[in-house]
């Protein structure tokens, strides 16, 4: 190898090394932030290495500037503006765009063959890149739409019809794929493109909101595969290795998340929405509950005032109501009053595993007060008051006792062991799993109906009017 050619290769090697260290570091709390910076640096190096390798015309530079300007600016603005509560759908959006990028490259090479007629390897890579890229894009967009509440789960996707639809689409993809090499820019390419795009929608649409994080993680792994395939298309080893790395690491992360939620990947992908077929009683009409005790914020405040040990169980509803700051204020007030306060964090609390930790950290809740499920569960019997804020399925005692429940076997927070439980909820509507929660009917449970933020502020003013917090 001649000496001048050595530099780009060296830069590529360093970039791969830094990317690997970045991914590794991201899995430890102490190193995560610097690891993220390291990965970003690696990406910059990789781009630099490519730019000094390729002779670029001024016209090419212009188009690079346009793409960089628009994409980079939009990315910057999105990253700065998006609220922490909307993190899952943001990741889905970014991910879909990554898939789209690989797809567009493959289309460009297929239609215009810039590097001469593509050989068999390039053709196969184009097929994979279009297929995976399109599924990643439409799947991620559907996932985002469902998380945002823009798209609901249509009824037909909950019966076996969807399998028929998806299998036909898969067959169409296959037909497009095998006939593609004969006519590179012809109909097979467009059949493949269309069928893969629809397949991405078809497989994501039936999946329920609770399983969406797993789907996003899986799609994230796919976008790595799409990048690796694009690496074969344009002949970039760095792209192949980085894409493969992210693809494989994403797969492991998906598996880790499934374990945390007590779901198998197969049941997430093919099982449809958990219990989504017949939501109990629909919206907020009581859903078949009897023996419900409801109480006002005043009564709840009185119980808090008398308590020695209080545990908050924050859930999705807290995130939606943006009530994490009000919650922090309330616990500060209780601590001033001498109450021992902690937070019970279920592994899938919030909208993605780890999401609740991010939200509470944003509200300045001390790290030591956030207790994970295994730590807090033995503590519930000696807890005076538990306040469940917008969580539902993760505190359902049926998961332990009722083997007929769809939740059976899922690890839950054992709040039913506490002396008194208040559930702050907007209505008796079902959770993601669409089933009744036996906790709500227990004698020690009282429901406080209302928006989490409004109830918390109500509690705050009640406690203040009792003279708590005044020195």
């Amino acid at each position: 190898m001649a000496l001048p050619n050595l530099w780009p290769a060296l830069i590529d090697l360093v970039a791969v090394l830094l990317l690997a260290l970045g991914i590794k570091g991201l899995s430890k709390v102490s190193t995560a932030r610097s690891a993220n910076g390291l990965a970003a640096l690696a990406m910059g190096l990789a781009v630099l290495g490519l730019l000094i390798q390729q002779p670029l015309s001024s016209q090419a530079w212009l188009w690079i500037a346009i793409g960089t300007g628009i994409g980079g600016l939009l990315g910057l603005l999105t990253a700065q503006r998006v609220p922490m509560t909307a993190m899952p759908e943001t990741v889905a959006l970014f991910n879909g765009c990554g898939g789209m990028a690989s797809l567009l490259v493959a289309l460009g090479v297929a239609v215009y063959s810039p590097g001469g007629a593509p050989g068999l390897v390039e053709q196969i890579s184009i097929v994979i890149s279009v297929f995976v890229g399109a599924i990643t894009f439409t799947g991620s967009i559907v996932a985002m739409g469902k998380l945002q509440g823009w798209i609901s789960t249509p009824g037909w996707t909950q019966n076996s019809l969807r399998h028929a639809v998806n299998i036909s689409l898969a067959v169409a993809c296959l037909a497009g794929a095998v006939t593609l090499p004969g006519a590179m820019a012809g109909p097979p390419l467009w059949v493949l493109l269309l069928a893969s795009s629809l397949l991405g929608i078809g497989v994501t649409l039936p999946i329920g909101g609770a399983d969406m994080p797993v789907v996003i993680s899986l799609l994230n792994s796919y976008s790595g595969v799409a990048a690796a395939a694009a690496g074969f298309v344009v002949g970039s080893q760095l792209l192949i290795v980085a894409g493969a790395m992210v693809g494989a690491a994403g797969l492991i992360l998906t598996q880790v998340m499934c374990t945390g939620m007590n779901r198998s990947l197969v049941s997430v992908l093919f099982g449809g929405a958990l219990g989504g077929v017949a939501p109990v009683g629909g919206g907020g009409d009581g859903g078949g509950y009897s023996r419900i005790t409801s109480c006002s914020p005043e009564e709840c405040a009185l119980a808090l005032e008398a308590a020695e040990r209080v545990v908050f169980v924050p859930g999705y509803g807290l995130a939606v109501a943006q009530a994490q700051h009000a919650l922090r204020d309330l616990s500060k007030l209780l601590e001033l009053h001498g109450v021992e306060v902690s937070y019970a964090i279920h592994p899938v609390a919030g909208r993605m595993p780890g999401h609740m930790n991010v939200l509470l950290a944003e509200a300045d809740v001390p790290y030591e007060q956030l207790l994970e499920m295994d730590t807090i569960n033995p503590e519930f019997p000696r807890t005076d008051v538990v306040i469940v804020l917008g969580a539902n399925d993760v505190v359902n005692p049926d998961a332990k006792t009722d083997s007929a429940s769809p939740l059976y076997g899922m690890p839950v927070l054992e709040v039913d062991q506490a002396r008194q439980v208040f559930v702050v909820k907007r209505s008796l509507g079902a959770g993601y799993a669409g089933i009744k929660n036996a906790l709500f009917e227990l004698p020690q449970t009282a429901m406080v109906f209302g928006d989490a933020k409004a109830v918390l502020n109500g509690l705050l003013s009640e406690l203040r009017s009792m003279g708590i917090g005044k020195k």
Binding site: N95, C97, A101, M245, G247, A248
Partner: protein
Amino acid sequence: MSALTQALWVLLLGSLLGLELIGKVPPTLHTPLMSGANAISGITVLASLTLIAQANGQVPLLLLGSLSLGFALFNVVGGFLVTDRMLAMFSRKSSRSGGAS
């Protein structure tokens, strides 16, 4: 060794490395890790840039390459920044509880 075999070796070793990199991840980090890995998958910027470099003045190719570059960079820039935003909150916490960072 042909270019193809070499590329397949790279694919194999890259996948194996990826499988080994993540072992045990605390649930706290699932969201940031997913977001960070997602930013890295935007490495497909390299493919977009190569497409532009090989376009040889063909405007449709330049356009496709530029569009693809835009999408990929949206993924990369947004992904890394948003991951940093999330992780910044953790480091603020650990510095208060006396941890190093």
